[in-house]
Symmetry: C2
Amino acid sequence: MRLYGYFRSSAAYRVRIALGLKGIVCEQVAVDLARGDHRNDDYMAIHPQGVVPTLITDQGVVLTQSLAILEFLEERYPQVPLLPSEAVARARVRSLAYIVACDIHPLQNLGVRRHLSEVAGFDARAADDWNRHWIEQGLDVLEQRLAREVETGAYCHGEAPSLADVCLVPQLYNAHRYGSDLARYPTLARIQAACDTLPAFQAAHPHRQPDTPAGFREVG
Amino acid sequence: MRLYGYFRSSAAYRVRIALGLKGIVCEQVAVDLARGDHRNDDYMAIHPQGVVPTLITDQGVVLTQSLAILEFLEERYPQVPLLPSEAVARARVRSLAYIVACDIHPLQNLGVRRHLSEVAGFDARAADDWNRHWIEQGLDVLEQRLAREVETGAYCHGEAPSLADVCLVPQLYNAHRYGSDLARYPTLARIQAACDTLPAFQAAHPHRQPDTPAGFREVG
């Protein structure tokens, strides 16, 4: 299995976490988004949309869209499940994951940033403000739900990490990156701290990837 | 079962199609987004995020996020399946659905339009241009994939409608609404024409809902 990703693509980060939690061995290939390598002929031949991640299965099947990859991994590798077994509980976990994947992340990705610069003249500061607006609006909803709903445990759903945590933790990394005050989110911070103790979350962190630039790399 | 929606919310439209395809009887309650009713205390008590759709099950469970609702319906009501049975095929259908649900729709919803007006001074024309940019970028990808991939049939995946069609058709309604030239997408147009022949897609159309304003209502 081979994963095309980028150290701080949060969609790739999600897939790295899930692979780690399920104990799936996977070769990683870096696609340097900052250098525009996702628009190279080589990568576009694999994934014509020119985004990461792409997962190539051992049978050579090309899978795209991080949430579709996560559901595929869940179905094909049910060990260490990332969704509960009951339909209402599964809907809860997915609804939390989709708050990140549909309501936050699409509004703060690199393509949107570039388009805002082109059509609205946004400078870096205006773009960061834009990102923070959507990140904080979504995290407010997540904090409110997770603090109130009885199904919340040490993790977003009960006592084991789920697809919700797999999506939440990369989004919190982005929130920090764009200067959001995470003290507003005590429940999210508590869940992140629980995730941080798990080797799969540690290994998937953007600052510990083969393509992490030296300036971001964590020592040890 | 009760669905809170709005005639031209494309997330609610998705759920209406799925309910119809599966033959599930469901009471519909209109939440007038144009009038701001999604921010009323009554609705916020049901869904504190203040967006549609919300599905209330017969057991009183509150489900949010259209994709989580669609997956719930698929799991709880497996008759007339909207996902194929094999994992790679399921991943393909989901990846097509997520192009709509993650790459297009979040960028062209009402909240984004309002924020662009506030922070970038966008007028209606600039906002429509913004919407068309993201709609066409996403539809280009879908057209390219669906025209090329052998799994495409009369519908997005084979000879029966799937979650991909359930997401695509409402997005094409929005594309038309914002003035995109659908002649660029012959494969998508062919699939939409196939969906248009099915009673579930017909009944779910925004112009045939109880809350459809008279000016939008279709005769007959």
